[in-house]
């Protein structure tokens, strides 16, 4: 059924720290690796070594520059993947019932054997979180690594989405955003986590932590380098030599 559940038991999702992300694209690669070798159709590439390489990715890093008024410009690396929205517009447009939101944990998934590859869900998503695989003709999207997080065959510390496990900067956090006792919930409260495109009315589960403002004083190290000149004979000698 492509109607959305009234309420989900959990709201599993990601919290992405824009202050911490260094834009290394490690999560992009680990996502591609895990989701090519595991659940569903592989994420294919077209013309991978040619002039116009193209391929299916479920996670991409954009880099923006923000110029606040009277402050220095700031570079912000911006990872973007499915936000597992509460009011997911991609789910309700699906004509076959292939797209659905799980009642037990809120993950938005595609049943690939029911997908006719009409592409309407990708149109309905304001975030560009869904990509049609050119080789398979079915819609691919972030599964929140549903085949890792409940996987009892892998060590406990690996039972998080591949992107979260890989991030060397600790910029990606995974958990139940509907649980007020969870650490991820506190993180969002503490740092003022925000929704992307709130005006689109999708109620995303994933939250973004805005970058902390930069210092207004540009010359941070300068004051530390200013040294007191030594006193005594060496000080006098230093002063005389400066004058030459």
């Amino acid at each position: 059924m492509t109607t959305l559940p009234q309420k989900t038991e959990k709201s599993l999702g990601l919290v992405i720290d824009l202050d911490t992300c260094v834009g290394c694209h490690a999560c992009v690669i680990s996502c591609k690796e895990w989701n090519t070798g595991n659940y569903g159709a592989p994420l294919s590439d077209q013309d991978a070594y040619g002039d116009v390489p193209m391929g299916t990715f479920l996670n991409r890093i954009h880099t923006f520059e923000v110029v606040p008024e009277n402050r220095p410009a700031q570079t912000v690396h911006f990872p973007k993947s499915c936000l597992h929205c509460e009011d997911a517009p991609c789910v309700t447009v699906c004509p076959t019932g292939a797209s659905y939101k799980r009642v037990e944990d809120g993950i938005v998934l595609v049943n690939e054997s029911d997908c006719i590859g009409c592409g309407l869900c990708a149109w309905a998503c304001p975030y560009g979180a869904r990509e049609m695989d050119a080789a398979e003709g079915v819609m691919k999207k972030c599964t929140l690594c549903v085949d890792r997080i409940y996987n009892e065959n892998i060590p406990q510390e690996d039972r998080v989405p591949s992107c979260v496990r890989t991030c060397p900067a600790g910029a990606r956090h995974f958990g139940d955003l509907s649980d007020p006792t969870s650490s991820i919930f506190h993180l969002v409260e503490e740092r003022g986590g925000i929704d992307l495109m709130p005006e689109q009315g999708t109620k995303p589960v994933n939250k973004y932590l805005p970058p902390r403002p930069k210092d207004t004083e540009l010359d941070v190290l300068g004051p530390l380098l200013r040294q007191e000149s030594p006193g005594g004979f060496l000080g006098w000698l230093d002063q005389q030599l400066e004058k030459l």
Binding site: H62, F64, E131
Partner: protein, 290 residues
């Protein structure tokens, strides 16, 4: 949005076919069976051709039957269900008329109602798209219905309804362009809301990759936008203004009617191409594009 030929053909041809069904169902007149038969076949052919061309857009057309299951929530599914129902009811109505001479008016009304419903559902597939502000308007179904009725009336040779339909079509198309040009700015979605970086001006410093991707090809289509003005004038003139003026000035008989059909269909294809090519998806903001 990428103006896929299969989708343009689908919306344009099926709209014409269903529009013709509306007039054959509501005002069949006293046509001889073979005349009615020819008209019915034309309507069925146009609608079926359109529907079949939509299958070319699919990654897995062999699974299309599954698309009829989600009519409770999906406009695409509703469109599929109604299209098949309309074809069946209209084929029955036409066959009874031509083969047995039974002119069942209520069956014709039902076919007309279903045909209008199908065109409405087709339009709602686009009008429901909040991320495409230009489409997300009641003018979208209005425009699709006006196109369908104008083309249908002209094909059916119902000149008086056609005159009104062309006038409404021209007005709606002009309004849709006027409102559509402002829609993106009025949607409130900007690079600031897209990134959550609200404390200053945001620009794309580096794209996620050097090549294109599915999203950019499908939703950040920019080719040909610079020809918008000339294409709008040509489209509106051919689709509505020329037929309107011709009906007012001349007595429309077979040859002229045929020429007007050609003019209208050419204009329909141009404006339908623009409908897609001009539509901007908010995802473009993540790529610093519109």
């Amino acid at each position: 949005m990428h103006p896929a030929p299969s989708i343009i053909a689908f919306t344009a041809l099926s709209g014409l076919g269903f529009g013709l069904m509306v007039f054959l169902g509501l005002m069949p007149g006293d046509k001889a069976p073979w005349v009615m038969g020819t008209f019915c076949l034309l309507a069925l052919a146009l609608a079926s051709l359109g529907l079949m061309s939509s299958l070319f857009h699919l990654g897995h057309p062999e699974r299309f039957i599954k698309a009829l299951s989600q009519w409770r929530s999906s406009w695409l599914s509703r469109e599929g269900v109604l299209a098949i129902l309309t074809l069946a009811v209209f084929a029955l109505y036409g066959a009874l008329w031509v083969l047995t001479g039974a002119q069942l008016a209520p069956l014709g009304w039902l076919a007309a109602l279903l045909a209008l419903g199908t065109v409405y559902c087709t339009a709602m597939i686009y009008a429901q798209m909040k991320p495409v502000p230009r489409w997300h308007s009641p003018l979208t179904p209005g425009l699709f219905l006006a196109f369908s009725l104008a083309g249908g009336a002209l094909l059916a040779g119902e000149i008086t309804p056609a005159l009104w339909a062309f006038a409404v079509l021209a007005a709606l198309q002009a309004a849709a362009w006027r409102k559509g040009d402002l829609a993106f700015a009025q949607s409130g979605t900007t690079m600031n809301t897209a990134t959550g970086l609200t404390k200053g001006e945001v620009r794309l410093l580096e794209a996620p990759h050097t090549g294109p991707n599915y999203l950019m090809k499908e939703m950040v289509f920019q080719i040909g936008r610079k020809h918008t003005r000339i294409l709008r004038i040509a489209g509106l003139t051919l689709a509505a203004v020329l037929p309107l003026v011709a009906i007012l000035l001349f007595e429309v008989k077979h040859t002229l009617a045929g020429l007007l059909v050609l003019s209208h269909v050419a204009g329909l294809f141009i404006t339908r191409w623009l409908f897609f090519a001009e539509a901007e998806h908010v995802v473009g903001l993540y790529y610093g594009k519109r």
